[in-house]
Point group: C2
Chain length 293, copies 2
């Protein structure tokens, strides 16, 4: 593969950050990968796993030579990260991110980026429920979408350089308006996570013996929710706090639909249940056809 | 493996029925497997796949020589199936089932079984979202639970014969009161399915372009729900109609918890979100430890 960048700095070497660095290093997409990571244990892990060339807790040291900085920390850290890295960015540096709420990236990271650098927010629609540098996967982005949400006036060459990196990591590139991205993600990702967290929470509140049986017999349905609900708490707290309007809007629709289902069950309206259950099968087929299953 | 039964009749040769017959035939657990199946195409499929020795739409023909009859049709068919098979059961025959609501089995199938036969209701906590005889899997029950819900006065030898068959198919056996079973399943299976169906339904009601994007970007969270929501509509309609009280009770708890989450998001209560999201991780670990993940 062609080297696309001299030095890449990964801010936050967790599941996503270390998946990027693994792929970049395997395919030689950059000359050097440096991690900026506050957690000393994670720095040590990343180094001993060989997924980065250097790891530091010092922002200046991490980003000073970076041609590309990718912020991979929870969205709530963006103002602080922006403040820390901004003074040390070199001329022409590109700052990108992988956060799941793009309006928040534009609002909290964008204003910190100096005029001599470029800000190109983005979001890889990929990931597992695992966290930390050891959970990185070299093929995590293969065949998945990477959504670019550049703001008006962003340097086109910088956008293309970020796109080229993700294309080299196996992703398909899509460009979207940040607000529209957040609306789509509220439906496909944020609401499903909220629901999964809630139902698993409902189960943890059951009396002890019933709870043990729920764990024992989790095979049919519930276990899929527990997988989703094992995702990183900080990351998800920040997503909900920062995509509030879009999540509340789709949650309202969902609640109305659930109330209709509740009523159909209460009154024994089998036809209504059957009609919905048949309709949802078609969506699954579309997803299989779209090769996202 | 030892042959446990002379002839087994499988009523309804779909995903579960054909998984049983595949295993029984592979391991020689019965001398002969006969399918009672109303759908001529499914009869033909089951025969050409070689998963049964014979297939018929005639109840008398199917069950007259059967030492064990396993009802694998949707719960709504139980009164009709009971009426059809009862007059033809031989002396000492055992009738069992695999339905997901045991109170309904006891209520709708039990009373049809004549005094010279035995009724042993049960439920394998296993399955996929696929349907039909071609979707059967020979190892579907391996390492999964089979819950026996015998009623007071059931012949202990008959119960043990059913347990021995499921043990031979790889399952772990558990015995439960039918009402308690239905309460546990309402939480681990019925509510998760209802929620998955509902959220996928919410997505199908979106305007067309948004819906296409939901399909395109389904990778993070939503796609797991679509898999669950692709399950057989008739089977699931019958489950909700027949486990109404237990489902409504747990749905009420879930709705209260979801409303609390909604409020926490609206008011920006990050601590509450973080606390729940951390708690749910522990449940996932318990499920992994219980080897049901």
């Amino acid at each position: 593969m062609t080297q696309l960048f001299g030095t890449i700095a990964i801010v936050g070497i967790g599941h996503i950050g270390s998946s990027i660095s693994r792929r970049v290093k395997r395919d030689g997409l950059a000359g050097r990968v440096v991690a900026l990571e506050a957690n000393a244990e994670h720095r040590q892990q990343a180094l001993s796993l060989g997924v980065v060339d250097a790891a530091t807790g010092d922002a200046a040291e991490a980003v000073r030579d970076a041609d590309l900085v990718i912020v991979c920390t929870p969205i709530g850290t963006y103002p602080e990260i922006g403040t820390a890295i901004a003074p040390h960015l070199k001329s022409g540096a590109i700052v990108s991110d992988v956060g799941s709420v793009k309006m928040a990236a534009v609002r909290d990271l964008g204003p910190h980026i100096p005029a001599h650098a470029h800000f190109v927010p983005g979001h890889p629609v990929a990931g597992t429920e695992h966290s930390g540098p050891a959970a990185g996967l070299v093929d995590l982005f293969d065949g998945r979408w990477f959504v670019l949400t550049p703001t008006p006036g962003t340097d086109a060459a910088a956008v293309e350089k970020v796109a080229a990196l993700w294309r080299a990591m196996g992703s398909n590139i899509e460009t979207m308006d940040p607000a529209h991205h957040d609306q789509v993600l509220a439906i496909v990702s944020h609401l499903p996570h909220l629901i999964a967290y809630t139902i698993v929470g409902t189960a943890t509140d059951l009396e002890k013996t019933l709870q043990q049986e729920v764990i024992k017999f989790s095979a049919s349905g519930f276990r899929d929710f527990t997988r989703i609900a094992a995702s990183d708490p900080t990351m998800w707290r920040d997503i909900f706090l920062n995509n509030r309007e879009a999540v509340l809007e789709v949650l309202q629709r969902f609640t109305e639909d659930l109330t209709a289902m509740q009523r159909a069950i209460r009154w024994g309206e089998g036809d209504k249940l059957f009609e919905l259950f048949s309709r949802t099968r078609a969506i699954r087929r579309s997803i299989i056809d779209a090769k996202q299953a």
